[in-house]
């Protein structure tokens, strides 16, 4: 049996020499994106805690459902907004599997013919 634990043989530098470039908390735009999603998640939790126990119906649907739908709408807005922002800021072209770019739109909806 060929069992590899190559990390035991690897030359790993001490933590003091580790590059600080790739951190969990990104810088600049990335930090804003992280902050937005953490904020709306915490907001959802707080609103569920404060108002989730109230038996209120709005247009026939419980308040709990509306809270969650608004959380979903904020998430969709965040993803679409930040994705568009990222694309506008990005200089290099988008990486795509070769030979298929021209057929992308057609194949997006591809089903057996």
């Amino acid at each position: 049996m060929k069992w590899n634990e190559d990390w035991l043989k690897a030359n790993r530098p001490p933590a003091s020499q580790h590059p600080k470039r790739y951190t969990f908390w990104p810088r600049g735009r990335g930090r804003l994106i992280f902050g937005y999603f953490i904020f709306i998640t915490l907001l959802d939790y707080v609103v569920l805690t404060l108002f989730g126990g109230r038996p209120i119906l709005i247009a026939g649907m419980p308040l709990l459902i509306w809270i969650t739908v608004i959380f979903a709408a904020l998430t969709i807005a965040g993803i679409l907004g930040f994705d568009a922002w990222n694309k506008n800021q990005a200089a290099p072209p988008v990486a795509t599997t070769p030979q298929t770019e021209d057929n992308e739109l057609r194949n997006d909806h591809e089903l057996p013919s």
Binding site: W7, H18, P19, F24, D44, L48, R54, V69
Partner: protein, 509 residues
């Protein structure tokens, strides 16, 4: 587990129409499988990840249909029936958080997979941490997750075929039929065939769930009338902590970790679909469309089904059957039949996806890596097809031996795969993570989940802070805590390894 007798009676009285609908579904199934087979090459990459060439709509629907399964069509309406609105909020909250995580991790997994030819979770984590033990964690997670789901689906599918055939097909025979159909489909058509079938099944499921909800609203006189019909339990049903008194916001967030994040983002099948997308720029569209599909399914579909089921059948013996019971109670017989076919479609979509994933991870991460490193792609392709039969055989035996409840099993299965999140964060985001941390923390998380959620390990630890948080959530947080602490106490990855992964991602994204 038996179908309610009144449904059996209705099926028998509409037998020819039901059989014709069932046959029509399987004809479409065979046509899709045949069309996908014509496109399949002898390349293992085509079989496992469809040559990384699936469009975003197909990827979205295959993720939606395979995760929805019998859990979404039967289990979640049953849980809403029992627990109340809190449970649909639990499911949706998990899907919302998962959508954001999918948008974040999807492009990173895709870029690494394309650059280094990864096709399984074990490829990525085993390569980054340079450890076959960590690769084996992904195999264990795949085995537990996929087998748990497949067993539940086979059992539910067997019961459904038994009912749809008017008792002509026995439960055991139904399990065998579904398994054989799925084996042939997976072996012949690979991931492309699975994805195309999922597209059809997903569209069918979505249409039926939406129609079901709309017809309920017409039958009851609007969504407010559905809730009003709950009578004395109305206020408890539509608020936290729900009918059983424990679904507080912290429990909602705790359960969703397993129910949704584990299934939608960290399950091996979701991971393989991230590799199979055509472009890394597609993940925003995939996430948003998937969230919209789930919102329609749950807000209009499962919520109204579970709630109206509680109104019409307050004493149902088995909540997992409430959607089927209600279908024949409020829908025209033909639509009710189509709904049961859609449940069967969801079951098949999940079973084919998970058998394919189970096989791919075992062959690539276990057999090829450890026992047969000289295996070429053609041999791996053939072995995938062969192992599919063995894996399906084991699942049949388990399905016949251990009848299980759907939703608790799904939450537990997701609770296992979500333990892979910290090592994934280390491989694509936080370069300070160490191999020691990736070795210890997920193992502790998996063991504590087995102990606290399944009770199958001997008791040396007391139960966690229940009922505020479920055991799997506490196990996950302990995993995260250990991962960070051990990483800071040990040496990070070699610089060349960090550049190979994090450097590439910084350049590409």
């Amino acid at each position: 587990m038996n179908f309610p007798p009144e449904i059996r009676q209705l099926v028998l009285s509409n037998y020819p129409m039901i059989i014709a609908t069932l046959v029509a579904y399987f004809v479409i199934f065979v046509l899709i499988s045949w069309a996908a087979k014509r496109k399949l090459t002898k390349d293992v990459g085509d079989y496992v990840v469809a040559s990384r060439n699936l469009g975003w709509v197909v990827v979205t629907f295959t993720m939606y249909a395979s995760v929805l399964s019998g859990v979404g069509m039967a289990g979640i309406p049953g849980a809403i029936y029992t627990i109340g609105t809190s449970f649909v909020v639990t499911a949706l909250t998990g899907i919302i958080v998962s959508t954001a995580l999918l948008w974040y991790f999807g492009p990173r997994i895709w870029v690494l997979g394309k650059e280094y030819g990864f096709t399984t979770p074990g490829d990525l984590l085993g390569e980054y941490y340079q450890s076959d033990i960590i690769r084996m964690y992904t195999v264990i997670a795949s085995l537990v997750y996929n087998i748990a789901y497949i067993v539940a689906q086979l059992l539910a599918g067997g019961i459904l075929l038994n009912v749809l055939s008017g008792n002509y097909i026995s439960l055991n025979m139904g399990i065998w039929i579904i398994t054989i159909v799925v084996i042939i489909h997976v072996a012949l058509a690979g991931l492309r065939g699975i994805a195309w079938l999922d597209f059809f099944n997903g569209a069918l499921i979505l249409l039926l769930l939406f129609s079901f909800g709309v017809i309920i609203m017409f039958a009851a006189g609007g969504p407010g009338s559905v809730v009003a019909g709950l009578g004395g339990i109305r206020d408890r049903f539509i608020t936290t902590p729900g009918m059983i008194g424990i679904f507080t916001p912290s429990r909602i967030y705790g359960v969703m970790i397993g129910l949704s994040i584990g299934a939608i983002v960290l399950s091996p099948s979701a991971w393989i679909r991230m590799y199979s997308a055509r472009s890394r720029s597609h993940f925003a569209k995939i996430g948003v469309l998937m969230l919209v599909l789930w919102l329609i399914s749950h807000v209009i579909g499962t919520y109204l089904i579970g709630t109206y089921g509680r109104v019409l059948f307050p004493d149902a013996e088995n909540p997992d059957f409430i959607s089927s019971l209600l279908a024949f109670g409020v829908l025209p017989v033909f639509i009710a039949t189509l709904f049961l076919i859609a449940v069967l479609a969801a079951i098949i979509s999940t079973t084919d996806t998970y058998i394919h994933t189970l096989t791919a991870t075992v062959v690539r991460d276990c057999i090829r890596t450890l026992f047969w490193p000289t295996m070429d792609d053609a041999q791996e392709f053939r072995l995938n097809r062969t192992i599919t039969i063995g894996a399906a055989g084991i699942c049949i035996l388990l399905a016949l031996s251990y009848p299980v409840l759907i939703t608790p099993l799904a939450i537990f299965a997701g609770g296992i795969t979500v333990q892979l999140l910290p090592p994934l964060v280390g491989a694509v985001t936080w370069s300070r993570a160490s191999t020691e941390a990736a070795l210890v923390a997920p193992a502790v998380g998996i063991l504590l989940t087995l102990k606290w959620d399944m009770g199958i390990l001997p008791g040396i630890l007391p139960p966690p802070f229940a009922p505020a948080l479920p055991g799997l959530a506490v196990a996950f947080f302990i995993n995260v805590f250990l991962f960070v602490v051990i990483s800071y106490l040990t040496k990070p990855q070699p610089p060349e390894q960090v550049e190979k992964f994090h450097g590439l991602l910084a350049k590409e994204l």
